[in-house]
């Protein structure tokens, strides 16, 4: 009898010890959307509408998380990536993000695309203290940890890039007469501001003409002719891919050969240079932070090899020339890094804290020398770009990676 009782007490004691120690060891902390088995991530993308070409980014990210899950997930947790179409419409973006937060109950919103859509959801997400992590837009306003501690950018801002071109011009061509063609929206104006800030006092004398166009215009030929007539010897093309290609062609057509700068957004060989013609694109300058999948010089690069393997296995119908796949891969990889750093503390506060503690992180698809650094006061992960010149059938990088950080 006594033996049985002793056994019982012993069993009970061990059970108690096991339970308490188990609890002490794990210290798992979760917010809505995270559990022992799953991390639920929300996303909105323009799968339809005027910007639907960017939908590839969402699809690449979905494929990348599939790969992570197939390899065992993050610390044993599978990623559940819920992505909705916002058709690039701000009201729809609000509706879909609210659905993600209130109905799907995601842990955070990752890489939502488009400046208007992100502006529309920023206040809502910050009000609810839900991370709006690594937004897919180059506007400068995402780096504002004081007022919006739950919003963080990812790619270099348009203003930083504009500053880099200004630095280059001041050094290489201080007497330049710059003609700017820019898209009449925040994208175009941000670049212009970056360029002007970078040029400083000399902006007024160096910029001889600013021409704006609307995305609804079928052709920008008229603007190009005007810019040529202004006597500019540097043509700064702040354009989206379709218009960038038109500009390159038109320049050749009217036999105008200024120093031609194209913004990174439109530096894709596949969607801009090739359609505009290689012969027309020789000597064009731009800047980059990511490797170009269409460029043969990266074929043997270990990072890009991993990228190509991923595409072949998880997203075989992707277009290799589309820079959106490189983008989606890099952004998704950055997120996975942050989630690994979070460990078992998957609270929203910790996700932001870890995202703001990235040190010299280099995703496979970024240029050598370009590193991701964040801190509690720096919510702009990528701030470096490298200048490049188009030669033959590819971009040739030159110089060092330049920082366009806004001091």
């Amino acid at each position: 009898m006594q033996v049985v009782q002793q056994l019982r007490i012993a069993a009970l004691a061990t059970a108690v010890i096991a339970l308490t120690s188990g609890g002490a060891l794990a210290q798992k902390k979760y917010d809505t959307g995270a559990s022992d088995t799953e991390i639920k991530i929300g996303n909105i993308m323009p799968y339809s509408g005027p910007a639907s070409a960017y939908g590839v980014i969402g699809k690449t990210e979905e494929a990348y998380f599939k790969k992570i899950n197939a390899e065992g997930g993050i610390n044993g947790r599978k990623i559940n990536f819920v992505t909705y179409d916002d058709a690039y419409s701000p009201p729809k973006a609000v509706e879909q993000v609210r659905k993600l937060v209130e109905s799907d109950e995601v842990l955070f919103v990752f890489n939502p695309l488009g400046t208007p859509s992100n502006s529309a959801i920023q206040k809502y997400l910050n009000g609810k203290k839900i991370p709006q992590l690594f937004v897919a837009t180059g506007a400068t306003k995402w780096n504002d940890p004081k007022n919006f501690p739950w919003t963080m950018g990812w790619q270099p801002s348009y203003q930083s890039e504009g500053r880099i071109y200004a630095k280059y011009l001041l050094k290489e061509k201080p007497g330049a007469k710059i003609g700017v063609l820019f898209q009449n929206d925040d994208f175009g104006k941000d670049y212009l501001k970056g360029l002007k800030d970078g040029l400083g006092d000399k902006a007024a004398s160096m910029i001889v003409m600013e021409e704006s166009y609307e995305t609804s215009e079928p052709s920008i030929d008229g603007h190009i002719v005007k810019l040529k007539a202004s006597g500019a010897d540097v043509f700064f093309s702040v354009t989206t891919p379709k218009f960038a290609a038109q500009a390159i062609k038109k320049l050749a057509e009217i036999d105008w050969h200024p120093l031609h700068l194209v913004v990174n957004v439109s530096a894709s060989v596949g969607s801009v240079i090739k359609p505009a013609g290689f012969e027309n694109s020789q000597g064009i300058l731009s800047a980059a932070y990511a490797k170009d999948a269409a460029d043969a010089q990266w074929d043997n690069d270990p990072g890009m090899k991993k990228f190509f393997e991923f595409l072949a296995q998880y997203y075989p119908d992707a277009n290799k020339l589309d820079s959106s796949t490189v983008y989606g891969y890099g952004a998704a990889q950055t997120l996975v890094k942050v989630l690994q750093m979070c460990g078992d503390d998957l609270t929203r506060a910790n996700v932001m804290k870890q995202a703001a503690s990235l040190k010299d992180f280099a995703p496979d698809t970024l240029l050598p020398g370009v590193k991701i650094n964040t801190s509690a006061t720096d919510f702009a992960p990528i701030e470096q770009l490298q200048m490049m010149r188009f030669k033959g059938e590819k971009w040739e990088l030159f110089g060092e990676a330049i920082s366009g950080a806004i001091e």
Binding site: Y47, T83, P91, V94, R98, K99, V101, S119, A120, E214
Partner: protein, 338 residues
């Protein structure tokens, strides 16, 4: 053949809807209002938000319905009035700290004026030509909003962020629920106003113009006044809807009010049933929920799926939800007889 003769000999573009068939019976209306009052108490905030958007787009479709179903004029430009209303509310709230509820009548009045003025030149046009003229208005609006000249008020391309109002008097309800009931009250008021407008002398004048312009003017109806009045009323209601939309979405930007919105509203009207006022809200549900359903079926082909669904609706029930409602009514009548 002169343009006038052409119009006179044409079959009317919008078929005649008798005014009694434009509304719901009081019993049905009571049940629907009761549902609209009670349902939000049991659902999540997100659903409440969607219901709010349904009412807001419903108002905008209703406004278009008064114009097209009532007075027989087409408009693909109502997104422009929606934008003006939204910006009026947003600018008054954010730049001049006006109470949100007070911004709505202002938005309504400004849009009424804008619609009335636009109605003047539009008088010379009819049918598809009028549709095209208004289409131009819708295309121009986002760019006008981006103009540097207005930027100090509109925020330019960056748009304006709007603060969502709290429930007043310390009522224990969420911002979403309060905004929903606020919107519901305004919607019911405007709906009753619209029904009475169409039943009034002016409403009869609208419908006479819709059915035959020349006969209407022979009967002594001042065609020009009533046509522009219809434009003004429609724009005014759209403006109120726009103002509410700005408060609910908490953000206005030029990209929110593109031609896509104008076409969605037009679509909502056709699906709901041209000239049938309650159908406006069915049409509004269609433009909000069907794209989500289409996306659920196929992400890559959501546009195509939406197209197929729309085609099915137009093919099977060309008169929209009005037709469905009428069939249902007949069935009910038969059941009662048996």
């Amino acid at each position: 053949m002169s343009a006038v003769e052409e119009i006179a000999s044409q079959a009317p573009a919008v078929e005649a809807v008798p005014k009694r068939a434009m509304t719901l019976s009081s019993g049905t209306a009571f049940v629907i209002v009761l549902l609209l009052l009670v349902v939000p108490l049991f659902v999540k905030n997100f659903i409440i938000f969607q219901m709010t958007m349904l009412l807001i787009y419903g108002l905008a479709v209703l406004a278009l319905n008064i114009l097209t179903g009532g007075s027989g004029q087409f408009s693909l430009g109502n997104s422009a009035f929606y934008a003006i209303g939204a910006y009026t509310s947003a600018i008054l709230m954010e730049q001049y700290n006006v109470n949100y509820a007070l911004t709505l009548p202002v938005a309504g009045v400004i849009c009424f004026g804008a619609g009335f003025l636009f109605g003047q030149p539009a008088l010379r046009l009819s049918g598809v030509y009028l549709a095209l003229a208004t289409f131009a208005l819708a295309t121009a609006m986002p760019q006008i909003l981006k103009l540097g000249f207005f930027e100090q008020w509109t925020g330019g391309v960056q748009g304006l962020v709007v603060t969502k109002p709290d429930a007043p008097f310390g009522l224990p309800m969420s911002q979403d629920m309060w905004l929903y009931y606020f919107t519901l009250a305004i919607t019911i008021a405007i709906y009753i106003f619209s029904v009475n407008l169409l039943r009034s002398r002016s409403g009869r004048a609208f419908m006479a113009i819709r059915d035959n312009e020349i006969a209407a003017s022979a009967m002594g109806i001042d065609v020009a006044t009533y046509k522009t009045l219809a434009f003004g009323v429609s724009a005014g209601i759209t403006g109120v809807a726009g103002g509410l939309g700005a408060i609910a979405v908490q953000f206005v930007a030029p990209d929110s009010y593109t031609i896509t919105l104008a076409i969605s509203l037009f679509l909502g009207m056709v699906v709901g049933g041209v000239g049938w006022l309650p159908g406006s809200f069915v049409g509004s549900a269609f433009i909000i929920f069907v794209p989500n359903i289409a996306e659920g079926i196929s992400k890559g082909l959501s546009g195509a799926v939406f197209g197929v669904l729309l085609f099915l609706v137009i093919f099977l029930v060309p008169h929209g939800s009005r037709q469905v409602a009428m069939v249902a009514q007949q069935l009910l009548g038969k059941l009662r007889k048996n």
